[in-house]
């Protein structure tokens, strides 16, 4: 769960309340949708249970927002391991594009339409990101160029697959002759 590890890493910098973590997370990591408060408090409760963080002080009142948390040495270890553990190189689990194209081919639906739709959506997002570059700080630029590069890679695969799919009927027709 990248979100909770990222929250834990934010907590590593200094003890914080849930709302501070949420704000910092939204500033640095939430490119599209802000984090729900509920998710932050759920993560913090879990950190406490697993011994990754503990409550340092509690102000008077009700609800989870009165607690301030501090990371534990064990929590720091978790962050450390997470940062350096390479991600699985298989990306198929994070994107449904490949699966949807494969299903379209398998079921006789138009794979070209799947590709064309995704292409259009990707280009719109790339347009948006390109606009966001102006006025973005160093952190922002890093995130934007990361996303741009990945969308670009997807689009190259889409173009290549589109051309390959174009050739399929021709190849079959040639074989039949």
């Amino acid at each position: 769960m990248p979100t909770s590890h990222t929250l834990l890493a934010l907590l590593e910098r200094e003890p914080a309340h849930g709302y501070t973590l949420k704000r910092q997370y939204d500033e640095r990591f939430a490119q599209t949708r802000p984090l729900a408060f509920g998710q932050v408090y759920a993560s913090l409760a879990r950190f406490e249970k697993q011994g990754w963080a503990r409550v340092t002080d509690v102000v008077a009142g009700e609800g989870p927002e009165r607690k301030r948390y501090r990371i534990t040495p064990e929590g720091t270890n978790v962050v450390e391991n997470w940062v350096f553990e390479p991600q699985s190189a298989g990306v198929f689990s994070t994107s449904t594009l490949f699966a949807r194209v494969a299903v379209a081919l398998m079921s006789g639906r138009s794979a070209q339409t799947v590709l064309a739709n995704q292409r259009a959506t990707h280009l719109v997002r790339m347009r948006e990101l390109t606009g966001l570059r102006k006025g973005a700080g160093a952190d922002g630029l890093l995130a934007i160029s990361y996303e741009l590069a990945h969308l670009d890679a997807d689009l190259r695969w889409i173009a290549e697959s589109g051309e390959r799919l174009d050739k399929v009927p021709r190849d079959i027709a040639e074989e039949e002759r």
């Binding site: 739709n117 790339m126 990101l129 689009l155």
Partner: protein, 228 residues
């Protein structure tokens, strides 16, 4: 964006001998619009641009510039209209190597009969806006590819055309330089109120433009026009 048609191709066909390049291509650009024309190599992008620019006359179909049919006009009249209302940028800027950058940029204005002094001032303004006024006095061979290409952009815009047509304008540049040239071309044409059609197969280039259109086998695909 007013939606007034600036340049349009309607059901354009074109063959080079036995090679069919365009088989019913249609595309319309409205005033101030910024469009990327994409598609595989050989799909007819350059051919369509040449027809739109009036460089080639299509075998059939219509080309209209600001609502007036132009494909039926003589070569001479089409050249004149191109000079007055369009700016064209190619992959390798096509600047005149014997002239300096500023002289290249002055050229369209002088061909349109403006006085040399006035042409130079206008050209220098534009070169300054593109941050290449420091090399204005150098010949094309003595400047970098990015600087030459920015001069080509300046030359395409100096006479305030209704539309700029660019064929792979950053195709010969590295990514960082391409960004600079592209940013300049997009912002300057917007500032001067020109529509922009950019042929590219680079998604990062296309991401600078508002509408994305795709060609395949000599036609503009319907999917690309609907799904933008």
């Amino acid at each position: 964006m007013t939606g007034t048609s600036v340049l349009a191709a309607n059901d354009v066909h074109l063959s080079y001998g036995d090679t069919v390049a365009l088989r019913g291509a249609s595309l319309e650009l409205t005033s101030g619009e910024r469009v990327a024309l994409m598609g595989p190599s050989g799909s007819g992008k350059s051919s369509l641009l040449h027809c739109l620019a009036g460089i080639i006359r299509p075998d059939s179909g219509e080309v209209t510039l600001e609502g007036t049919r132009v494909d039926t006009l003589s070569e001479r009249v089409r050249s004149r209209l191109r000079l007055e209302r369009m700016g064209v940028v190619f992959q390798f800027g096509d600047l005149v190597p014997e002239l300096t950058l500023v002289e290249n940029v002055m050229l369209p204005l002088q061909l349109l009969g403006r006085k040399k002094r006035e042409a130079r001032l206008t050209a220098m303004d534009l070169l300054a806006a593109l941050d290449i006024d420091d090399v204005a006095g150098k010949r094309t061979g003595a400047v970098s590819g990015g600087q030459a290409q920015r001069a080509a952009v300046a030359r395409a815009l100096v006479h305030r055309p209704a539309i700029v047509l660019a064929d792979e304008p950053t195709g010969s540049l590295d990514t960082v330089t391409a960004e600079v040239v592209l940013d300049a071309m997009v912002s300057l044409s917007t500032q001067l109120g020109a529509a922009l059609l950019v042929i590219t197969h680079d998604n990062l280039v296309a991401a600078h433009l508002d509408r994305h259109v795709e060609m395949r086998d000599g036609v503009v695909t319907r999917a690309a026009q609907v799904l933008r």
